[in-house]
Assembly symmetry: C2
Homo-oligomer: 437 residues x 2
């Protein structure tokens, strides 16, 4: 049932050539991550950047704020990989141990770096605060470290060789880590790596993962490029991946596969790579100079938030009304009281009246509405948790789609995200249909 | 500078007593996680649940969809821990390899389980679709496995002993994994574990991490309970942790420490454990029977979305207006055109007019507004990226706070989240101040 060819056989050992960075591991340090107080987003970010640089990455490891364990995992990781990137444990408090453990692992003394001490002073001046004695802990590094500047926070990082591998330490705060990685380590890796793993992701919606996979099973079985499916929240993506020495070579291998996939599944396709349903919709609206207003009930602002997550929504997004009460639906959208009394707020007629109402109030080309029971409470036999209506309105008319998301009745988040996805896709198809007409 | 006492010295090896579950590792399987296409939230969830059950968790590991590597990491993890939980790799496609690798690691044949085949059929019937041949791959498990029911998806999990450890496989879809873990594995662990690690988290805002840590340095240096700080997006938390045999014993150890912390830092405290600024604010409003309306510009619905992430906001949240255009600010909120022309949309007077306007339009007790430059583009010398105004209005008057978030000018998300946090906190303090008056 499974296919041997899809295994990528890769060599999990360090490069013999000194200085070449071919493999990396990511080491996340922090009890708060281990115990689940915080979700580790840094590893995903670094995994993506390293893959794009052609560095093979085989393992992410998370350990707590424990000196022995941090030291041991640094030694394990450097025995396997050319590059070990750590995040976390660079703060000013006593459970921040990363640089000190790097000192122990390399047998180096901890010394104060005057440039780092000045940096702490300067950052505190910038924020208008006084450093406390513990803040100067962030100026201590293993002797011989090359420091990694941090333009946005007090914690500088360190680079040091251990067991023939390069170790680079970064703070756990995502904004600081990313900036430091991009400014300092990424250019260094680019010089010292070979070739690149190149991927293109194609996004689909409106079809389940296995049904979609069946349509391209022959491509999923191929080994170069590889094609891998992944599903979530009503969307499925196919990731096409190859290794190449130049971007042109990668394009030549990936494009025919992408074209073949689109010839079979084009009706369900909405974009590639970082595209989201909201960004795809935003592009369609912007290209056409069309405008949009939103009327949200159970999604409570989620559609508006997603449309404005990226810059650029002001080109088409005029306003969003989160009408969380029946009164709001009446006075802001002009939904007739009769309709609310007769059918209830979660109903096809109300969803239609909301979409039409917001379009007229805002004077936009399109109105989009969502009303439903997101749960976990508030469901009834007639209107169970997961019952959602999505409405779209333009001058040609108003249509409403009924969604049964009761399978996700235990997750308010899943119901809201899937409702938003269906709403964005409904409008997207309406616009595309009008283009064809 | 760092303090020996804060190291938790723990034994990283398996229990000698057969059947006792004292230690666990989490193994995440999926190339999409390794390459950063997807952020792993499952490990955080499982880490939190295991900690609450008193199971020590020392390591999270992520590997790709590679049979050799999955098998090896299963063997490594079972050599160290009493329990190994895997997530991912249970799907119907050819790169889903987890159960098969568990078969290889344990030397068991893969056999079809009739109950799992029936389950696939039933789930497809429920979703109104036809299974394809590849879907029945999800009925194959290593011989001798005990299956883990999945009430919400097609992928059942398996439990099997390997090297004296219990391995349990779960799908990667968070909603399915959580449901299955809570229904099946959690009760089993509860029976077989000893004591519990108990934590209480206290949340603060309005003070930086190191300044706050200085106030409680003596407590951070103590070893039982331990107190650990963590900061992010304008909030700082202190986590108090101990190990105890009964909830009462844990309370007796934690409560005096929590009380001591609050006696020093109470002004900055807003809640404990799962409390967020929005839920703390929601409680205050609900308790007082007060109502709230929002007027958002740069946050684009984020405040409304956060208020409605949990159920219960309908008790106080009447409506939220995402006025993304100047026209919207005029026609929906009654912001005078003069004000917009003279001061611009991002200005103190406009923030005030928005808060007051939405309060009057919605007829609520409070109005809360945000207008600013979230970036990354759109800044000017006079109004740089990160300049944000937050307004709060009630019948006693309207106040506006100017935020300088330019330090986060490279992250639109950080600016929006911090603006929302400040807005919620501003209103929270206004309400608390009125209680005192």
């Amino acid at each position: 049932m499974q296919n041997e060819k899809t295994y990528t056989v890769e060599v999990d050992k360090k490069s013999d050539e000194t200085g070449v960075i071919r493999s990396a591991e990511i080491l996340t340090i922090g009890t708060e991550i281990l115990l689940g107080d915080l979700v580790d987003t840094n590893s995903a970010y670094l995994g993506g950047r390293l893959a794009a640089l052609g560095v093979s990455i085989y393992r992410h490891t998370t350990v707590g704020d424990n000196a022995e364990r941090i030291t041991a995992s640094l030694q394990e990781a450097t025995s396997r990989a050319d590059l070990v990137i750590t995040t976390g444990g660079l703060g000013p408090t006593s459970d921040d141990l990363t640089n000190q453990c790097l000192g122990e692992a390399t047998g180096r003394e901890m010394v104060e770096y005057p440039e780092a001490r000045r940096h702490v002073d300067e950052m505190f001046r910038r924020f208008g605060r006084e450093p406390t004695p513990s803040n100067y802990k962030q100026a201590l590094f293993p002797e011989g470290s090359k420091l990694i500047p941090n333009p946005v926070g007090t914690a500088m990082g360190a680079m040091l060789e251990l067991d023939g591998a390069l170790v680079a330490t970064f703070p756990g705060v995502p904004g600081e880590m990313r900036r430091m990685f991009e400014d300092t380590l990424e250019p260094l890796i680019r010089e010292r790596s070979e070739g690149a793993i190149v991927s293109r992701t194609l996004w689909f919606t409106g079809m389940g993962e296995s049904a979609l996979a069946e349509q391209v099973q022959d491509l999923l079985d191929a080994s170069d490029p590889t094609v891998a499916p992944l599903a979530g929240q009503g969307k499925v993506r196919l990731r096409i991946t190859t290794r190449a020495n130049t971007p042109e070579e990668a394009e030549k291998k990936i494009t025919p596969v992408a074209d073949e996939i689109l010839s079979r599944l084009g009706d369900y396709y909405f974009g590639e790579d970082d595209e989201t349903l909201e960004s795809a919709l935003g592009k369609l609206l912007t290209e056409r100079g069309a405008t949009l207003a939103l009327a949200e009930s159970c999604t409570g602002g989620l559609l508006a938030k997603r449309l404005t997550d990226g810059a650029g929504a002001s080109a088409y997004f005029v306003e969003g009304l989160v009408t969380y009460s029946n009164e709001s639906k009446e006075h802001l959208l002009g939904v007739p009281n009769d309709l609310l009394v007769e059918h209830g707020a979660v109903s096809e007629p109300v969803a239609g009246a909301m979409a039409e109402g917001v379009r007229k109030v805002a004077g936009t080309d399109y109105g989009l509405s969502v009303t439903g029971v997101a749960g976990p409470d508030g469901g009834s036999e007639e209107k169970p948790v997961g019952l959602v209506f999505v409405g779209v309105s333009d001058e040609e008319g108003t249509e409403v789609e009924r969604l049964d998301l009761s399978a996700w009745r235990r997750s308010r988040e899943a119901i809201r995200e899937r409702s938003a996805n269906r709403a964005f896709d409904l409008l997207r198809h309406r616009i595309l249909g009008q283009d064809e007409a």
